[in-house]
């Protein structure tokens, strides 16, 4: 259990800059979830903290101790790998005991700790098995067990649930959350899955091509995304974007697609992108007319995908409760108080000035 601090962290592989500038500070017991598109450097960031890669620049501090130059074996961090990386030639017990033996614990103490961790994860009956005799979900648990048994300063998770089926993933997600809370170990968690990101993290770090796009609580990220990249990344289905221009002293947006959308407060800017989530569009509002491409019933809700008539580039998704019959065109209304305004050039969020 410890704090984690990253200062001015950069990483290049040869000429390619993978991480540009990461400054980050986690309080004791916090769980930070890192999300971002494939290849944006999530795993690299985790491996830097683990010590498996050396930073090109910057400092890593764990619990006040500078570990930048230390070997992974000296950092007292546990990592859960995507494909578990269990020791194939050792039993479940030995997999969990390996790190404890290296620390020179007594035999009795090792047995006690392993059995305790096994009980916590429901692995008691599997202790003598080899990893190849386990199911995917069980291997995942063993990997978790190996991490918690050592009582490390820091947990690192690199997409630990991505090899599980959907049901098991939901179950393990809750379990990881429960365990992390209970043990109070500071954690970094990398995922592709935005539901995992929203539910697991105390805070979210959205990485965009090696730079942090936003670092905030999940709700804050959802409600006030810092730019169009973050906005498109969080929320499902993805937010709709429409090009426009601020008019009337910044109190309304004139969309290129036609309608004038009045806003609350007044903003400073010129060309903008109006962001509106599918659930904040209503059928029959009269702001836009869509030519419908596809209707997806999800049970209690329905997704309507279409394009603004006459503007094939403006693809729009609407999420409405209930069932929608087959239609060619629909008219859609914008709930303006839920709209987000982003700069048309930089994509950065524009908030109303007080």
């Amino acid at each position: 259990m410890a704090t984690l601090e990253l200062q001015g962290l950069r990483k290049s592989f040869g000429a390619t800059q993978v991480l540009r500038q990461i400054d980050l500070s986690l309080v004791d017991g916090e769980m930070l979830v890192i999300v971002g598109a494939s290849g944006c450097g999530k795993s690299t960031l985790l491996r830097l903290v683990a010590g498996l890669e050396t930073p090109t620049e910057g400092r890593i501090t764990i619990g006040g101790r500078d570990v930048t130059a230390l070997d992974p074996s000296e950092r007292d961090i546990a990592m859960v790998f995507q494909n578990y990386a269990l020791y194939p030639h050792m039993s479940v017990f030995d997999n969990m005991a390996y790190g404890l033996r290296i620390r020179g614990l007594s035999r009795g103490e090792i047995t006690r700790k392993v059995e305790e961790a096994a009980a916590l994860l429901g692995l008691e009956s599997l202790l003598t098995r080899k990893p190849r005799q386990l199911s995917g979900g069980q291997r995942q648990r063993v990997a978790m067990g190996r991490a918690i048994v050592r009582d490390p300063k820091l947990f690192l998770f690199d997409e630990p649930l991505s090899n599980l089926d959907a049901k098991l993933r939901v179950q393990m997600r809750a379990e990881i959350r429960r365990l992390q809370r209970r043990l109070g170990v500071t954690s970094l968690y990398v995922t592709h899955d935005q539901v995992e990101a929203m539910t697991l993290g105390d805070r979210l770090l959205i990485l965009h091509e090696g730079t942090p796009a936003q670092l905030a609580t999940p709700m804050e990220v959802f409600e006030r995304p810092a730019d169009t990249y973050v906005a498109s990344f969080v929320g499902s289905p993805t937010m709709n974007f429409l090009a426009g221009r601020l008019v009337h002293d910044g109190t309304a947006v004139q969309l290129e697609a036609g309608p004038l959308i009045p806003l609350q407060g007044h903003r400073v800017g010129d060309t903008v992108t109006l962001g509106i989530r599918p659930e904040h569009l209503t059928l029959g509002g009269g702001d836009l007319t869509l030519a419908v491409d596809l209707i997806e019933p999800l049970g209690s809700e329905t997704l309507v995908h279409g394009r603004v008539v006459g503007r094939d580039d403006d693809a729009i998704t609407v999420k409405v409760p209930g069932v929608v019959g087959l239609v060619e065109t629909v008219s859609v209304g914008v709930q303006a108080d839920h709209a987000h305004v982003f700069d048309g050039v930089t994509g950065k969020r524009i908030d109303p000035v007080k």
Partner: protein
């Protein structure tokens, strides 16, 4: 996806197999059969007549202290060659497995010795170790070490072991490297995060995961040391001084070809053949079971 082509009739398959079958027959089954036959008979010195003697040749062999000495010597030689060549190869493979610059060149250079004929590798060792013309041999004598493998049996053994092991390092290296590269990176990384350092990590993670490769190589190296080292030993020491480097294959050659004791020599060949068959059977069973499970 089934890419097999099915040929109808008998003639074509037989024709296709014939060259290999003929080669196997003329170069293996026929001489092997001759050897078994001549191990069961005894001939007079001029090859005029023969008498069937059953297992007499074998009884003579296993009651001959010289033969038993040769067996012990061969076992020691095999162990020494295998341990030395596998140990060196494993060390080199561990280094090649790390990402170092010039790795490609390093690997290629390591593979070259395998392409050198046994007798040629022996000549190379002579250039280095001969007490009168060899670089290291002369240097040793110059500095007060009485190095002469033509007189000192231990030195001769050392030399044939080195020369034989040297040639096998390449082969072992390739297999160890492939074995190391098939160990998932994440497993080693997990061990590092668990706190395991260099040598301990190697002993507890890397080496156990190399076990199938190691077992395979033990068999290959023992067979190599027992049977394929004839060229190197004969070119270096002819089994001497005395009988100090006379392994079983050298003895077969000396007794049969030089001393013309066909009965004993054939019996020795049959014993060797039984040895190879036994080792191969063990390997097939073990490896076969491994691939099934």
């Amino acid at each position: 996806m089934d890419r097999r082509t099915v040929f109808n009739g008998r003639l074509l398959p037989v024709m296709l197999l014939l060259p290999q079958l003929l080669l196997t027959f003329f170069f293996f089954y026929w001489p092997a059969g001759e050897a078994v036959w001549s191990s069961l008979i005894t001939q007079d010195a001029f090859g005029q007549g023969w008498v069937f003697v059953g297992v007499d040749n074998f009884v003579d062999l296993f009651t001959d202290p010289l033969y038993l000495d040769s067996i012990v010597r061969t076992v020691l030689f095999c162990v020494a060659v295998s341990v030395l060549s596998m140990g060196i190869a494993l060390g080199l493979a561990v280094f090649a497995d790390r990402s170092i610059s010039g790795r490609g060149v390093y690997r290629t250079l390591l593979i070259w010795p395998y392409a050198i004929a046994p007798a040629m590798s022996a000549v190379l060792f002579l250039f280095v170790l001969n007490p009168r013309v060899g670089l290291l041999g002369r240097w040793l004598n110059h500095h007060g070490v009485a190095w002469d493998y033509t007189l000192n049996g231990a030195q001769a053994m050392l030399m044939v072991v080195s020369a034989s092991a040297w040639k096998q390092v390449s082969y072992n290296f390739i297999f160890f490297l492939a074995g190391l590269q098939s160990i998932p990176r994440a497993v080693t990384e997990a061990a590092r995060m668990d706190g395991a350092k260099g040598w301990h990590r190697f002993l507890t993670i890397t080496f156990p995961l190399l076990a199938p490769t190691t077992f395979f190589l033990v068999v290959v190296n023992v067979v190599y040391a027992a049977f394929d080292t004839f060229g190197a030993i004969y070119a270096l020491t002819q089994g001497g001084p005395g009988k100090d480097t006379e392994t079983l294959v050298i003895k077969v050659f000396r007794d049969g070809v030089i001393n013309q004791d066909i009965g004993s020599s054939s019996a020795q060949s049959v014993v060797l053949m039984a040895g190879v068959i036994a080792i191969t059977a063990v390997q097939f069973r073990f490896m076969g079971r491994r691939t099934v499970s």
